[in-house]
Amino acid sequence: MQHCTPEQLALAALREPLPADDSAHLATCEACRSEVASLQRAVDAVAVPQLAAPGPAVAPPPAVWDAIVAATGVSATVRDDVVADPPAAEPVRAATVLPFRPRRRPALLVAAAVLAGAVVGAGAVAVVQNGDDGEAVTAVALDPLADNEASGRAEVVELEDGSRVVRVELDAPALDAEYYEIWLIDRDVVDMVPLGVVRPGTQTVELPADLDLGRFPLVDVSVEPLDGDPTHSGVSVARGELDT
């Protein structure tokens, strides 16, 4: 058959679906494919989500306007509420990272939880009294998930001042360019509290005061890549359930 029209090839470069006969021709025609590829270089250069049309607005901190005034020398003023620090300004800035994270993560976690189901039940839960420094409230074995070699033990300890910590013994291979993180997760494996970075060996991480352990009974160890993404990677290697 004859070649695709130049217009069709441009649409193909934008990854628009073509009519069936054009798309069948394109699949087999080297000349047309090479034309699409050469047009696509520009498309690919800017086809990144960061350059897409603006999504959710984020209020810049007041210092940004001050810097613009300083750099331009304008004497104009903006409305007070635009540059006023809202009471929640700092947390909001941190929280705005959320919408750009993959939404399929929770689904991955649910899959991991299903895998874990059988193993978690087998985790030996013990209540330990009167440790040397602080009183162990509850302890749980961390069992490997799937084929992982990671295992260990987590112990919730109440210190004399009433604060609680988790003493973690992790028996797991050392990681290269990744790290272990420990989480408390609810039974639905949707909501979770990150407790911090852990490494093979024994260490203590603090528990947020007033955190309801009954709501987050799963102790989970994940492998996190060094990607700056603060959310759970979806890769859990060991888990146990606190008896609360």
Binding site: A45, A52, G55, A57, V58, V78, T96, V97, V193
Partner: protein
């Protein structure tokens, strides 16, 4: 990466009030974040107070006064669109100094380069977004250059003279800057058409519907613009790597 995130709320003239409602719900996120990492709940509620639209100049008027050098128009533009611009910057770099620099540089550049803005180039907010894209791409290019220089320096320190690697340029990082630059040179409606395709991920049929232009016109503009961008990349991209 979430390609779909950026394209759901087109940045259109007259929609600044509406689009602000997509802003992060303040108090809910504060409460949500510590316990709900990995969840995306609570992103869509309307917490921003409606802005008193009456008695404020419309977007077109702000654009006209901005181009004419009215300082208060810069303040009005900031009030109205800084959230959108900063949202883009935060999407690219996360909250913090890099994003704040991008937002600041966008408004400073737009102001000092206001002679380059004319109402016939489209609404001011769209033009500001174009400036912000340049600032984001520039920041990427600067980081890429620093990374490569560091790597080259390390390899020079470790390797013998025969194995030295010179700091190169990432093709896509360089292409991106050339494409954004060439887009600035396009007239309307070509620029608007290709931006809808590139940045809002619309099909040519959707673009025709949005702009009211005939399908055939949209298709031939897309074709000619992609050819023009290809030429720019072949000429200047080749020069960069020579």
């Amino acid at each position: 990466m979430l390609a779909e995130e950026g394209v759901q709320h087109p940045f259109e003239p007259g929609r600044s009030g509406a689009s602000e409602r997509h802003g992060a719900p303040v108090s809910e996120l504060v409460a949500v974040r510590p316990l709900r990492l990995g969840s995306v709940r609570g992103m869509a509620t309307d917490r921003r107070q409606a802005r008193p639209a009456a008695a404020e100049p419309d977007d077109r008027e702000i654009g006209r006064r901005f181009a004419a050098g009215d300082e208060q128009a810069l303040a009005l533009a900031y009030e109205r669109w800084a959230g959108q611009i900063h949202g883009m910057a935060v999407r690219a770099f996360g909250p913090g100094p890099d994003a704040e620099d991008v937002t600041q540089q966008t408004f400073v550049s737009a102001w000092t380069g206001r002679a380059g803005y004319r109402a016939d180039k489209g609404p001011l907010p769209g033009w500001l977004v174009g400036v912000a894209r340049h600032k984001i791409a520039d920041t990427w290019a600067r980081r890429d250059k620093q990374r490569r220089e560091t790597e080259a320096a390390m390899s020079e320190a470790q390797a013998g003279p025969a194995e030295r690697v010179t700091a190169g340029v990432d093709t896509q990082v360089a292409d991106r800057i050339l494409v954004l630059d060439e887009l600035d040179l396009l007239g309307q409606p070509q620029r608007g058409i290709i931006e809808l395709a590139f940045f809002e991920d619309l099909t040519h049929a959707q673009i025709a519907e949005r702009t009211g232009l005939p399908l055939g016109t949209v298709k031939s503009h897309i074709r000619r613009t992609l050819e023009r961008l290809r030429t720019r990349l072949e000429v200047d991209g080749a020069a960069l790597h020579a």
